[in-house]
Symmetry: C2
Subunit: 207 residues, 2 copies
Amino acid sequence: MYFLAHNVAKKHNIGTMARCCTAFGVKSLVLIGSRQFNTFGSHGADGHVHFEHFDSLEEAREKLKGERGCTQILGVEIVDDARAIESHPFTGNTAFIMGNEGHGMTEAQKAICDGFVYIPQYGPGTASLNVSVAASIVMHHFASWAGYEERSREGEKFIVAERPQRTRKRGEVGESPEQVRARRAAARALDKEQETRGEDAIADADI
Amino acid sequence: MYFLAHNVAKKHNIGTMARCCTAFGVKSLVLIGSRQFNTFGSHGADGHVHFEHFDSLEEAREKLKGERGCTQILGVEIVDDARAIESHPFTGNTAFIMGNEGHGMTEAQKAICDGFVYIPQYGPGTASLNVSVAASIVMHHFASWAGYEERSREGEKFIVAERPQRTRKRGEVGESPEQVRARRAAARALDKEQETRGEDAIADADI
């Protein structure tokens, strides 16, 4: 299971979402757009979560449906043909994407989805759920459907692993080796192009 | 479904829990101990939630199992014989009680329970869930099991009712008519007793 966070507005929602991601076995929390995030509310869980970064929604869809083998990208949104989450409309590895607090999903976000799920509500007092509450309910159902192995417990707590050594700056998604290679190749290509264009062209360039 | 909050520590958890309560059709959010609460995080949903107050855990159990017709009081805690929440171990009207953040349920809280449910976790990074996340997953499953009627929607939001006129001070649970009657009866009985004991006894009393 993958979880996409695109323009999540409130500063502590990435932190609390990271805590939920590790509780429910999310493979990576995918940030789109900004590489920076705030880990407030994660209770240290962000050290255990694998973060990934993609520049655009389109790139995220291509990678998730391609090499990551997701059969579906499901939007969490109350649209007409959305299926109730407890009906488990899953077909295999899945990436979930949710809207921003208060505004729901944008058309661009909906455009990368294969379908939608929603969480039924029963009372009169609130139009929507808090983002991390909604995310957790979705993750909980997927993990249960997928039959993930339950974490062992000790007394009344699930066992927390040693925090892995930090290999990136806290609160920022670093580049993957693949992204580093792509960036370097692009820089080399640019150097070559500039050599070809000669000194005059460089002098004219907007640098 | 009833939800008991006893010594919930973080100030905004009652507010966010109130929002979840109204989303999932909780009949009343029962405060035990303090009548005061903080509504931060409720997004106004606290105006729609029915709050009740009991002085003690024992009083709560008696009323919930008695006149409120609950077949079970279920603790949400990872104890040895706890059942996974998605197995829906429900038998009728149910009151749920959760522990305090970080410390789990106390022995006194466990003592009023007929059984326990827990939320399975699958990852290495966190020992427990945020209280409002855990509460929401529990409420969501109960509402789904009980077949509560889904709230109607308008576009991509569930319809929020007009906020009912406030009949109590915000952030405080008032007394129910029954509690007012009981308090007045006790006061009258005390007056009578004091009259009987006479002026001398009153002068000696520790007032």
